[in-house]
Symmetry: D2
Subunit: 117 residues, 4 copies
């Protein structure tokens, strides 16, 4: 059985919170605060690194584990936030990419357009 899709992980997170009676803390306001805190813990790993050093963080097993763990925390709070507000994160991102493709046409296309007589 494959649990590795977003909807299943979202269900696991909801069951996890329910079993511990933690839903009372999961207001949208609290969940976005937690999300931003986890995102900052990811920033903390990179704050003093040069751009070049930042590209090599996965070379060290300890740092790689820490980075992966923070990614999980960010995704966990994002999914729980979406769950309590009924937002579909994949549909949201798909729609956003559609909008961005119209908003920022790739240079090739605008050059092609300029070449039009």
């Amino acid at each position: 059985m494959n649990e590795l899709d977003l909807a299943s992980l979202q269900r696991r997170l909801a069951d996890f919170a329910a079993a511990r009676d933690w839903q009372q803390y999961h207001t949208p306001k609290n969940l976005v605060a937690a999300l931003s805190v986890e995102a900052s813990e990811l920033v903390e790993i990179f704050q003093w690194l040069t751009p070049e050093e930042s590209a090599r963080v996965m070379d060290d097993a300890g740092t790689a584990h820490r980075v992966t763990d923070e990614v999980a925390d960010v995704l966990a709070y994002l999914l729980q936030f979406c769950e309590v507000l009924g937002i579909d994160p994949l549909a949201a991102l798909n729609a956003k990419i559609d909008r961005n493709e119209r908003r920022f046409p790739p240079p090739g296309e605008s050059r092609a357009a300029e070449e039009e007589p």
Copy 2:
């Protein structure tokens, strides 16, 4: 064709950045900064709301759109960050939930354990 899975969205984001020559900006360090900025834009929507008001943000169409848009931005930068570092976000979250289930046993189970002779 269904594009609404994480891997496909991740590919769309990579193609989008490549077509605009934006990959040069996408160091892990810059992407986590952008991720944290987007998470804060989500916090901004909620910062003066009471817990109760925060639970009703989707009732207003304009706010609902803004919230959904910021969710998309957070997910976009998280997926791009994972892409450049070769992290599987779903596997990361699955492993994290496994660890948390061992770390925080649900009250029912620990009570059961205590009842064991």
Copy 3:
């Protein structure tokens, strides 16, 4: 001798960094990242609290110490950031309050204005 003014603390911080050869890490970009990380560590203390609980954080000595410590970290990075870019934070805030007083006239004044014939 009174060291408790911003300029003296700013000088202590600069001397502290220079003595440890840490200035090389103190690019404006790195310092704002560190500032935002410290601000998030302050948020972390409050993330699951109700508004009422958040007003009582100083009642517990351990939490009071943690809050005060994070305030110091936020101020330290803000002052170091201002130092490297030559920004006067007090003048900046004074000018901002001036602007906000014009931008958001207090209700009494606008009512008075409306009552003008």
Copy 4:
């Protein structure tokens, strides 16, 4: 009359909020959220810049104004947070530098210590 000390600015901020009946929103929890949002708006200015570009942000008048404005916002929320919780930010920072001087002795001193017979 010189208003450019922290205590006077803190009083101006408190008067400003009181005149607009905004104190009701100024729970410690909300103020730290606002503080972290403003810190992120500062990060946003730097997120795609190289370390070298980040050192030159004040060369452009528009960016310099934006940076200075965000510094003011961060300081404003930090001072209001300290006000509602009765924290002295200067004393907090002074004590923190004292602790850090003990925690991170400068290399010269530890070398001197090692050279002691």
